[in-house]
């Protein structure tokens, strides 16, 4: 049997004070598991970007993480507005964040590009008006 550990988090929307809670918890678990420091860092960065996206764009959502000795799989799903143009959204610097969000220092247009950069595999399923599901995998 392949050993896996599953974690689930509900991310509430518009609550910046709690953004980063899920990625922080995942990070501390991975450290205790003795996962390679570089992989821990990549998971923490990619997941935090995703978590912030859930808060900023989707009004919250859910994160599921599956840890196995071979890889870490992350699924971020939301019932938000969906992404109109995925290719454009993947461009560094492109952002649809509002001015008020930018004034908080977010919305630099690096969220999705960073998630791709720090993960080994990434897949986006999105439908306008229905929501988005992002899959990321980091191999160990």
């Amino acid at each position: 049997m392949c050993m896996t550990m599953k974690l689930h988090f509900d991310v509430s929307g518009e609550d910046f004070t709690r953004a980063g809670e899920a990625s922080g918890k995942v990070k501390s678990k991975l450290k205790q598991l003795g996962i390679a420091p570089d992989a821990v860092r990549r998971v923490a960065i990619a997941l935090y970007e995703g978590e912030i996206n859930l808060v900023i764009h989707a009004g919250g959502g859910e994160i599921d993480v599956e840890i196995s000795p071979e890889n870490i799989k992350m699924v971020l799903s939301d019932k938000g507005p969906g992404i109109a143009d995925v290719e454009k959204a993947m461009t560094e610097g492109f952002s649809t964040a509002t001015e008020s969000i930018r004034s908080l220092g977010f919305g630099a247009g690096m969220g999705l590009p960073n998630m791709k950069k720090y993960s080994d595999e990434m897949k986006i399923d999105t439908k306008l008006g229905e929501g988005t599901r992002i899959f990321m995998q980091i191999n160990l």
Binding site: K27, K29, K31, L33, P37, I45, Y48, P69
Partner: protein
Amino acid sequence: MSSFTHSVYLDSEKCKGCINCIKRCPTGAIRVRGGKAHIIKEFCIDCGECVRVCPHHAKKTRYDSLDTMKEYKYKVALPAPSFYAQFNNVTDTGIILKALIKLGFDAVFEVAAAAEMVSEMSRKYIADHPEGKPYISTACPSIIRLIRVRFPELIDRMLPIITPADLAAQLAAAEAMEKTGLKREEIGIFFLSPCPAKVTSVADPLGIEKSEIDRVLAIKKVYTALLPHMKHDDAGDNEYKRAGRIGVSWGITGGEVGGLLIDNYIAADGIENVIRVLEDLEDSKISGVDFIELNSCTGGCVGGVLQVENPYVAKTKLKLLRKYMPIAGSHLDGKVPENSFWTKEVEFIPVFRLGATPKESMEIMQKIDELAEALPGLDCGSCGAPSCRALAEDIIRGVANERDCIHLLKRYLHKISSDLNSL
């Protein structure tokens, strides 16, 4: 691999087995077992929080006694910058430096003077090695110890320059040998320390092979011995006074970065705040910053547990004291002192890892998760562990059992009594 030497220890006679220290330890290094507190030496970073919080004064710090001065022919005092901020009505550091001589020291070498050289070296190092930015200061030994067990990705960001105290010790020893012609072992270099972490860093240094500090005295002990020797007439310049504003300012948070003459820095103090900054730095959430000064104690070194004065009052005193000082009194003059950089790599020691391999760790963590689910989740500390989760880990590690939880024990006793009643 480095050992885990510590200078914080328990006076078990005084320990009442309460939960104050276990709840406050930032690394979860203390357990109460058998009615007494125990420090898990691999987890402890010598920050001194438990010394600060223990209402029974059972947590203590190892340091040398003033009597050790008798062991040396020539004795040099190295006052930490924060030392100057402990006294009332002292408007000039000359009074303190002269009083140290009257106390029995043959010379004084201000750590603040060496700090100014470290500031200069740091400025140059950061300019020459921009690729490593942001650098993390390494003046607080608790921070180095924290990073090496908990933030492996940040080890390379630590500024590889020795501490002002260690540099002062090297320079003072060389000066004393030249002046007296005595052998090194006949000279005693005495550091006046604000905290246990600095005591530990002398006994078990990180980054360097050996510290030139021979003895570490607690500021609070020197303070009382020094008071009768302090005279207003001694104000003014003397041969030992070589530090300026930059050096003296190292005693408070923001002092070290002040010496770097940059604006894009972070200066954080208080161990919990420091941990948050390190977490954010590790997750690449901090950008546009060249340097990060971190002090385990609130207020910086003035907040050390071996100090006398309230850190906030001390900060004000230090600011008043430095007001009319020259900006810096000591300079490198183009000559970088020998052995002023780290010579030893600081290695990551994964003390918090659960198992030898990720797979084994996962099996252990699953057991811990199941067990933690069954515990009440109150984190009351009555079992002697700081949280229910920590107790679950201890049980799996085989050093505690479920009945240590008084809530589970109560449930168990209820069950037994109702079983008996139904017989």
